[in-house]
Amino acid sequence: MLKKIELKTPILEEDARKLTVGDVVYVTGTLLTARDAAHTRIMQFLHEGRKLPMVFEGLPLYHCGPLIKKTDGEWTVLAAGPTTSMRMESFEDEVIRNLGVRLVIGKGGMGEKTSGAMKEHGAVYGAFTGGAAVLASRLVKRVKNVEWLDLGMAEAVWTFEVDKFGPLIVCMDSRGNNLFTKVRTEAEKNKPKIISSFKVQ
């Protein structure tokens, strides 16, 4: 049986370190979205030593470009599934190191650099089902804040209040395990057998 774990934000380093690949996590509290353009801007701020207008410490960073509607001055989240995390691979290690993110949420997994920072700082990667955007939006209770809306709706940094946001499958843990790498390595191993089974050689 898979282990089910409920987390509340802010997530402590020791709690993040307890998580293992294959665990199923549900997170309650506050999370922030950030994808391509937001990461580029975060890096700019970090390099220029400027203070960010939002706090990531202990919170989940969600790779998501949501579809949001504004009616009567209120934001309503219509769809908020994950985007491909690998596009953020070149930035995420620095983001984890500098901003204290404990949980990165996205789809498709990330690489060595991110894995290294997770090991060092005690953070994990949780995969939310790609495309399950309506389910995700139902778990967002409220839009608390938005920054950098000039980047566009999808690229802005949204702060969501979430309730039991999941299921998130822990795919990268703080011991350097990576489920995506494991699955791909297995697939590579299967390949010769698959190729030799081709009917037309």
């Binding site: 049986m1 898979l2 294959g22 199923v24 998501c64 470009g65 949501p66 579809l67 509607k69 219509l78 769809a79 908020a80 599934g81 985007t83 491909t84 690998m86 789809k107 498709g108 997994g109 995969a127 089902t129 790609g130 495309g131 399950a132 955007a133 309506v134 389910l135 939006s137 139902r138 566009g152 709706m153 999808a154 299921p167 499958i169 795919c171 489920l179 995506f180 494991k182 699955v183 791909r184 297995e186 697939a187 590579e188 299967n190 390949k191 698959i194 190729i195 089974s197 081709f198 009917k199 037309v200 050689q201």
Partner: protein, 297 residues
């Protein structure tokens, strides 16, 4: 003028149908994949997918926040009136749909990175024309997500690599893509022609009904074999490991140059959004993939 208004309404309706509910063939394929899946994590993913589809349909909400880059595939009867005006109407329909449904603004200028926020721009929406006999217009709305688009690939193979090389390339693409195109995917394979023809055919293959075998026996056999081998890679739902890596493989081919053997592989995520309708000369509309919406004309 009346016909143009109809095209406008139908195009908006098709986009709404496409982004909020999946055609039956895709839903059935997902159900089969769920029943066959042996991985626990894989089953969690497929269950979330099916719940999400149900919820989106019930609430008339886009299935995925990425409502795609928009294409229309048209089969236009040569006697359908005002054909020269259709593209302009489709652009307006996309702007209207973006605002009304709503759709996420996804068309970005590649130089300035500016987003006009209405899903239109240079060559977007992309409109593919096929002129046929008759006086009706068949429209397929095909909004396609970026995640699965990013794993599409073209290989100019050596002709001596032949079918074996093609199959190896498809398997390689699937493994390399991993969870990025949101598996279980639909895989379109375009073979032959020149580079552009192979890619276009791979894309068109994604629009074929999943439950109809290819009318060409060799292509049908190739589809069957590729479906089986891709589902033996173990990539599984969302790349988290499992049985369901693809829902269907669809093949289209063109004759090739003696020196070339282009092979294109197009991925479509499980949220395989497409919707088709026919507008008859008298203005009557027939929806082929989805039930007409209440507000449909």
């Amino acid at each position: 003028m009346i016909l143009e208004a109809t095209v406008m309404d139908v195009a908006v309706n098709l986009l709404r149908q496409a982004v909020t509910s999946l055609p039956e063939d895709v839903k059935n394929a997902l159900k089969t994949a769920y029943d066959k899946e042996r991985s626990q994590i894989g089953k969690i993913q497929l269950r979330a997918i099916m719940e999400n589809i149900e919820e989106a349909e019930k609430t008339n909400t886009p299935i995925c926040q990425d409502t795609g880059l928009i294409s229309f595939y048209l089969e236009a009867g040569s006697k359908f009136r005002n054909l020269e005006k259709i593209e302009g109407v489709l652009i307006k329909a996309v702007q209207k749909a973006t605002n009304e449904i709503p759709l996420r603004p996804n068309a970005v200028n590649p130089f300035s990175q500016e987003n006009p926020n209405d899903n239109t721009g240079n060559h977007v929406p992309y409109v593919h024309w096929k002129i046929v006999e008759g006086n009706s217009l068949k429209i397929t709305a095909f909004p396609k997500g970026g995640g699965s688009e990013n794993t599409c690939a073209l290989q100019m193979m050596r002709p001596s690599d032949g079918l074996r090389g093609l199959k190896e390339f498809v398997v390689d693409c699937v493994i390399k893509a991993g969870g990025m195109p949101c598996p279980p995917t639909i895989i379109g394979v375009g073979m032959g022609g020149g580079a552009n023809i192979a890619v276009e055919l791979a894309k068109q293959a994604l629009l074929k009904p999943l439950d109809e075998p290819n009318p060409n026996a060799e292509a049908a056999e190739l589809e069957r074999e590729l479906y089986e081998v891709v589902n033996k890679t173990g990539i599984g739902p969302m790349g988290l490991g499992g049985d369901a890596t693809t829902l269907a493989v669809k093949v289209e081919y063109a004759h090739r140059h003696p020196a070339s053997y282009p092979v294109a592989v197009a991925f479509q995520c499980w949220a395989a959004r497409k919707a088709t309708a026919i507008i008859h000369a008298n203005g009557k509309v027939e929806y082929l993939t989805h039930k007409p919406l209440k507000d449909a004309c």
